[in-house]
Symmetry: C2
Subunit: 336 residues, 2 copies
């Protein structure tokens, strides 16, 4: 009898996995310049992708209609008959309303109701959120956070985005904008931020912050004549600093030392809020590797309140770089 | 027929409310000096209370046995036949384990399993948490947060405690110690904290912090000859500063101005985490009233990231001062 039951279980598992691999979702990552649209399998593989030049659209209806055309094209090309949902990650994307509200890097002003516009063309559930929340959910569904209930992600890019998962669900809060840890004030009266305030984490720990720190140090170290001193101030980017650090440039290493320390404090503070099991890091500057992660982990450990000692892992995202944004968006379709 | 149904509903409601008012819980607030035990009605009235001198107990079993005796005495005196649960608020009280772990202000060293000890004498559900979490839950069940899903409380005392409610539930996190916002680093490399680190919010915004700020300002303002300059440095308390501020003393007012500003930044940062609908303030220093609340609200508004504009109320706890700790502990019995 026992072997019979086991056989039944095996058959059932086989059928379930067959059904699973036949289920596809759409992930859409709306950026200021490009919109990436991907067809994602149940196990988290981006099997096809297309894109549109966001900046060339001034009419939201036409924009969404073209997105939906691309979706139908992909489904036809890949012989996919049905999709189970569409997840959209957009700057200022609001989970509760399904809208983008006043995103400064898009040509559509005011409120764009993505949910309603998509439903004019495709009748599947549509989930909208901001890109940082999508990244967190991508990590949960397809990445290193599989099976976790409580974790936080920090995405280092032009700014610092973050997503918070509590009890297996994305935290949205009253406004739908919970988890804006890039705009936590790290240094009161510190560096000016694009949000109009001062001292926000993202002025220190983003690609923009890394550039700012490098320029500050170049000013303070007139005797330094390394590779970064050969690049004009206007042209210097965080990528230059990362490459220089990789080659052992002392000023670049100092920049990442400081960046890691600032992030370490911010992450220890985040732990005092939700006591997560892990914090995941993603985004361009994370590619700098240990020159960023070593000081980050050291300062994190020193800054962590003793009640959390040993309870939190600092980890790097396990999503593939190229598809991370699309996978994150597609993962939103799994958020209940 | 309709009137019949309505009648049935009325009868049902009447019976339900009768049952409700006959349901009592026990709230126990364990402090380093005293342990307060209260019998709390369903509508949140503390109908009887007793206490024990915590400091005189060195044996946890005897201590809990005496607590249980007091509970039976109260029930007998108040003619209460049954209770639906016991909530215990204790420093380092852990929701997951039902234990107190290494509380520095108690004579019982190591781990005290309150849950197991109580069950030796009384067989009802026992819920343990720390005092700040209990305060938050008290506000939800019996106070100003009734009906809210997302809010945060800050309790200003010797330290700064906090409790975070998300989707109507207390946030415990992986360790059971989520919501230690008193130990968020507000000023990197700032004032030394009892936890061994520097710059924690509680070194600025607690009663201890208020005393520290007053001493710093007394040092900086040698020309000041107001009431606070007449008190020896050793004897100066936050209560002195509060009374002086109430009487318009300029140095005391400056202390509360700074305290309010620090709290305003910390609260704006907390909003960037969970986007709550309200933040509640409780504890001794809050009695200073507008001299604290005005600068707090002003700095909070300036420090809040624009996406949260107008979404959060800063409010004072609506629990009665004398019974707040017992009501908070009793409220824990309602946490599912």
């Amino acid at each position: 009898m026992l072997s019979d039951i086991n056989n039944k279980h095996s058959v059932f598992h086989f059928q379930l996995s067959t059904i699973m691999t036949n289920t596809y979702s759409i992930g859409i990552d709306i950026g200021g310049t490009n919109t990436d649209i991907g067809l994602v399998s149940a196990e988290g593989r981006c099997v096809a992708r297309k894109n549109l030049p966001t900046r060339q659209y001034f009419d939201a209806d036409l924009y969404v209609s073209d997105i939906c055309k691309k979706i139908y094209e992909m489904m036809e090309e890949q012989h996919v008959a049905a999709i189970d949902g569409i997840g959209i990650a957009a700057p200022m994307g609001n989970y509760y309303t399904g809208c983008i509200d006043n995103a400064t890097n898009l040509n559509f002003r005011g409120t764009t109701n993505l949910n309603a516009l998509v439903h004019k063309y495709i009748d599947v559930p549509v989930t909208v959120s901001n890109d940082a929340n999508a990244a967190a959910y991508g990590e949960l569904v397809y990445g290193g956070a599989k099976g976790m209930s409580n974790f936080i992600t920090f995405t280092l890019g032009t700014g610092v985005g973050s997503g918070i998962v509590i009890d297996g669900k994305l935290l949205h809060g009253k406004t739908g904008n919970a988890g804006e840890l890039g705009h936590v004030i790290l240094i009161p009266d510190g560096r000016p931020c694009g949000c109009g305030r001062r001292g926000c984490l993202e002025t220190y720990a983003s690609a923009t912050g890394i550039r700012y720190t490098a320029l500050e140090l170049l000013e303070k170290r007139p005797q330094y004549d390394g590779v970064l001193s050969k690049i004009s101030k206007e042209k210097l980017t965080s990528k230059h600093v990362g490459d220089a650090a990789h080659d052992g440039d002392p000023l670049a290493l100092e920049v990442f030392e400081k960046t890691g320390q600032w992030l370490g404090i911010a992450m220890a503070n985040a732990v005092a809020f939700s006591s997560p099991e892990a914090i995941f890091l993603m985004g361009g500057p994370v590619k700098a590797g240990e020159v960023l992660l070593r000081p980050l982990r050291e300062t994190f450990k020193k800054s962590l309140c003793f009640v959390y000692d040993g309870s939190v892992d600092i980890r790097v995202s396990e999503l593939p770089d190229n598809d991370a944004a699309i996978l994150g968006a597609a993962a939103l379709t799994k958020n209940k």
